[in-house]
Symmetry: C2
Subunit: 354 residues, 2 copies
Amino acid sequence: MSETAPLDITGWTCPAPLRDHPRVVMGHGGGGALSAELVRHVFAPAYGGPALADLGDSARLTLGGARLAFSTDSYVVRPLFFPGGSIGDLAVNGTVNDLAMSGATAAYLSCGFILEEGVEVATVARVAEALGAAARAAGVEVATGDTKVVEAGHGDGVYVNTAGIGLIPAGVDLRPQRVVPGDVVIVSGEIGLHGVAIMSVREGLEFGVDVASDCAALGGLVEAMLAVTPDLHVLRDPTRGGLAASLNEIAAASGTGVVLREGAVPVPPAVANACAVLGLDPFYVANEGKLVAFVPREHADAVLDAMHAHPLGRRAAVIGEAVADHPGLVVARTGLGGTRVIDLPLGEQLPRIC
Amino acid sequence: MSETAPLDITGWTCPAPLRDHPRVVMGHGGGGALSAELVRHVFAPAYGGPALADLGDSARLTLGGARLAFSTDSYVVRPLFFPGGSIGDLAVNGTVNDLAMSGATAAYLSCGFILEEGVEVATVARVAEALGAAARAAGVEVATGDTKVVEAGHGDGVYVNTAGIGLIPAGVDLRPQRVVPGDVVIVSGEIGLHGVAIMSVREGLEFGVDVASDCAALGGLVEAMLAVTPDLHVLRDPTRGGLAASLNEIAAASGTGVVLREGAVPVPPAVANACAVLGLDPFYVANEGKLVAFVPREHADAVLDAMHAHPLGRRAAVIGEAVADHPGLVVARTGLGGTRVIDLPLGEQLPRIC
């Protein structure tokens, strides 16, 4: 930091859970336990209202009689362009997907750039073009924008923030509190692709692997699932922190346990190999075009069929169920009849994955 | 920049107007002519739709039958805390004011933090508390948020993005295309306070002056004005680029000319003195709690009375009028009977003012 607050900032009592980290560490942005502490002990006390208290992927609001979903993410991925996508694709699909997890069809995005002095205008243009192409593919309109520039050494080429608004269809009410024991857990496809694709081109870590990011907009897949029944219980897109973080958030908020059949989770061989070499667990690796759904048992087969019929759900699979045992805890049954606890990660294995 | 795009970014033909600056310069974020070129030649071709084409302070949308305003800004102000406010106050009031310029009452904000590794958690907490206090004062709820962390040397403590949505009341249609010759130009109070307050504490530039930022939420003032008549023509908040940038944008988009009476523009003595010393023109200095209104002549007196009755409009003054002459051009009449052209600034006089 080149600059700290010149005015009085004393008088703030650091809550006990944060005292291990009086200064921000990379893990605070990882979407795991450290991020959750910051939200719980810093942001929520400062400005948390009823909508924020939900802590879902997007807020659900009513305004002028319309049921809206509203969500934001900043994108700081390195490198800006990677196999299968770019920061421009992420900035659209990440926010569109957060809206889709409320069942909402994304309608409008805002787009705020923070550019670093000295970045090539051609690079900015390439990011903007990727963002525009992704928006057209997702059927969402960029309605408003802003550009700020910071001095060289205070940014990293291009950061993008998008916020999105979408309409939630009547009868749709997706939230973890609706999960009940017996719900079937479905993942929409192969996990770990985005994280491994980024790692494979990350400076200082490059390795040869034929893996592209799964970055994609999930609005159409969610529409197809809701056409089977509006009575899905909860959806999440397992981005930072991977499947493990999403399932732990749902288990904690719903007060049910989750049991996974470890062998049923689709892990592509290239992801499994890369994770083995790097000492990572694919359950914790980020995805950008996958969702996990908790579906009432009586609808599970039909929802799975609808997913298989959609290009982004061809490899959808039942991977487990919600249980009354061990509330709040996610447990995987291994092939040999053993079990292991899938914890909420502390941070992200690799910073700046999105 | 520590990193450039590793994949092919060739094939982009830099439009002629941008060729003086193949790399991003600070002025691209200044809200003046350089910013406008970037929007026109890079962002609009890549993803510009009908809503973005308006280029107002906020987009006006219809969703689920509701008439909404939608706006975003990133905040990168240095220092984080300054006389009269902080980045947290700006992040609320700046976006609330962009919505108010569409006549909308801000309802919900999103909030995305980009934190630099190593910043004190107490500093983040102070920013969050200021943001929360400003949101409560403005009557807006922070509904959704996100936190990213970047490595030391790739940020500057705290950057914040907010996006906001609000309802536009029936019968309100504020846009520069509605301006007609004869419209009265009103400014809501003394100009230049925010910019001079920031300059007075900017590292390497500190000077003693008793000026605090005017940072404030203008929603209530706009409501009071619209209560007189919904038929105001256009509102703008003169932030980056000051009164000069706002008036030039309105003149260009409306196709009318603007004539100012220079002596009628309220400039506090401390701002005038600071500008004289620094060689600046107060017309180009940023404000964060002021608006400029183009009002039909028959309503001007009543609107001015309503503004004077509001705490944020006590010093409101008629400063000029829209004219059929010199369409698109802003001209100031000086006290001695002379005139000078008030150009659109190229960038901001001081970077990172908001």
